[in-house]
Amino acid sequence: MKQNHTLYFRLNRLFYTCLLLLLLACNGKKQEPATGQVIVFRDDLGRELKLQHQPKRVMAFSPAMTEMLFAICDTATIIARTPQCDYPTQVVTKPIVSNYPVDYEQVLALKPDLIFSSEGIVPMEVVEKLKELGVPVYIQKYRTVEDVFKGMEAIGKIMGREQQANHLADSLRQQVKQLEQRHKGQARPQQVLAITWTDPIYVYGQNTILTDKLHILGAQNAVQEVFDQPYPALTREYILKLNPNVLLGGSPEKLEQTFFSQYPELRKIKAYQNHRIYAVTGNLMERPGPRVVESILELERLLYP
């Protein structure tokens, strides 16, 4: 399988090299149409990226970013997806590139002008290696919902689709504003704890985008303390002390099986006593993309039934 892959790639490269030589031989003059038009910009990590021309072939290393590209770019410019990318539906027509571990050969075979990613998806070591191979990686990071909108606008600018991007970002901003209006000034904001794993217990920390989503809805992330990790591990005692009103992370039946049967002590928390335990759609909760408002609306339905 791998062998075939490599062989295919080599033949491919050979073919393209020949083609290139042929082209060079035919019209040596037409080569440098856009010299002096180097595009320079910075990503959210402050890294400087240089492009010879506006990117025409792009892909993303995260499902959320793929959703962003589909919402903003001409779909013909999106040349690949990762194994986790499953939205929007037309994404399935794109070839799959492994992002863990990164399939360098496949990336080179597809020759993207630029790869979009967000913080923490691929190690920086991989990013550097791709840069050496001539494929720059643009990385965004989001702490708030507004960061996601800004990210959309940045993608629009890079891809020459500013109008689409700004229009999308503005209409989403409008929806967020309405949500904020609706839930402004809650007398006693609901304390929400969202778990990502039950053994050990990992939760959405203060420095995740969930905190801002809840804030928009007039509620609070029960975890107020800021930990180094975005998803800190907590003890049962810590959760007893938080005593959240709402627990997110699985249906009551599922959490009864995997969580409360293992930690019966946690049946004391308000969320359990008042039956306020909900499952959220993983794809919405976890992806900072164009469906971020959809995710907030889902949370709204759960928090204000």
């Binding site: 053994d199 800190p232 005593n243 002590e265």
Partner: protein, 335 residues
């Protein structure tokens, strides 16, 4: 005389660390509220509840698991007559990890009939791997220690490789975290319903070997001489094997494979009490429990609230002490 003193010091230290440990947690609690929780227990008071149902079982589990691992390490070192032996020699640790990881990766339901499966499968994994290792180390109706050692290393590597493969193929971060937990250990899932299993296994083993300590000491002279001196070498070895696999199995299934304790505490014991002390096993268990309590306390103080994985702490604080011990001139493994 000095041996009795060591015992008293160890017991006192255990008590002190227990009291200190009861005060560490997310709720602010001083000695007064701890005393209050025990003498005026009010189930509706969350602080009381946390002290009695979360902190105390956690400390006791650390004590029991530390004691179990140290005790089993001592037995294994005596059986294979090798200073490098530890309780995981029979593949218990990697077998348990494999069992638990299989559950986390969805090969088995997480809960069957209301029972949470990872510890159950960890125990099963530990036993199955141990059985295979023992089978390989058994030849001509004899247990051959060298063969047992090699079989243990080989089968452990295989189990570790399978865990590695599953980890690599995992599709979610949560699963990775679960694997990390299972490779370094934690006492966070301690509860009154879990505690009796490892505790009962340890206490029964301590009673059994109270009668076998002498045999064990003679075994250090080598199998042939021990046989000549009237020790039933084969039976003693089987007793050790069975005990180690059960006691370590329960310890690992409840807390994950915590390294190093089973290796160094037996050496500490021999350094302090002599290689053939009459109550070495008991002292070894106390010291192991004390060491684990200290490590757990440290892990929670350094990195609240969840604590660093306990295996990291045991190595960090155990290794320097071990090196010091090795550099002492008068320490010898066997007499």
């Amino acid at each position: 005389m000095s041996r009795t003193l060591y015992f008293i010091v160890a017991l006192l230290l255990i008590l002190i660390v227990l009291v200190l440990g009861l005060q560490v947690g997310s709720f602010d609690t001083g000695l007064a509220s701890i005393a209050d929780a025990f003498f005026n227990y009010n189930p509706d008071n969350t602080i009381h509840y946390a002290i009695v149902h979360l902190r105390l079982p956690r400390l006791l589990l650390a004590l029991v698991v530390g004691a179990s691992l140290a005790f089993c390490g001592y037995l294994m070192q005596a059986m294979v007559n090798n200073a490098l032996a530890d309780p995981y020699l029979l593949g218990t640790a990697s077998g348990a990890s494999l069992g638990a990881v299989l559950v986390f990766f969805g090969f088995v339901d997480v809960a069957i009939a209301g029972f949470y499966m990872p510890p159950v499968f960890a125990l099963l994994g530990a036993f199955i791997v141990t059985l295979v290792v023992v089978r390989l180390g058994y030849r001509k109706r004899q247990l051959i220690p060298a063969q047992l050692l090699l079989a243990g290393v080989a089968i452990s590597s295989l189990a570790t490789a399978i865990v590695g493969l599953l980890t690599f193929l995992s599709d979610s971060e949560g699963k990775l975290k679960a694997v990390i937990f299972w490779s370094m250990g934690s006492f966070e899932r301690a509860s009154w319903s879990l505690l009796p299993y490892p505790a009962a296994a340890l206490i029964l083993a301590l009673i059994l070997f109270a009668f076998l300590q002498k045999q064990l000491n003679i075994l250090l002279l080598g199998a042939d001489r021990a046989q000549a001196l009237g020790v039933q070498v084969v039976k003693t070895r089987w007793a050790i094997l069975a005990t180690v696999s059960v006691v370590t199995g329960f310890a690992v299934a409840t807390s994950g494979p915590i390294g190093f304790v089973g290796l160094i505490v037996p050496h500490v014991t021999r350094a302090l009490m002599g290689t053939t002390g009459k109550s070495n096993l008991l002292f070894c268990a106390f010291t192991g429990g004390l060491f684990m309590l200290l490590c757990d306390l440290l892990s929670r103080v350094i990195y609240p609230p969840a604590g660093l994985p306990i295996g990291i702490i045991t190595s960090f604080f155990g290794v320097p002490f071990f090196v010091y011990l090795l550099s002492r001139k008068n320490y010898k493994f066997s007499s």
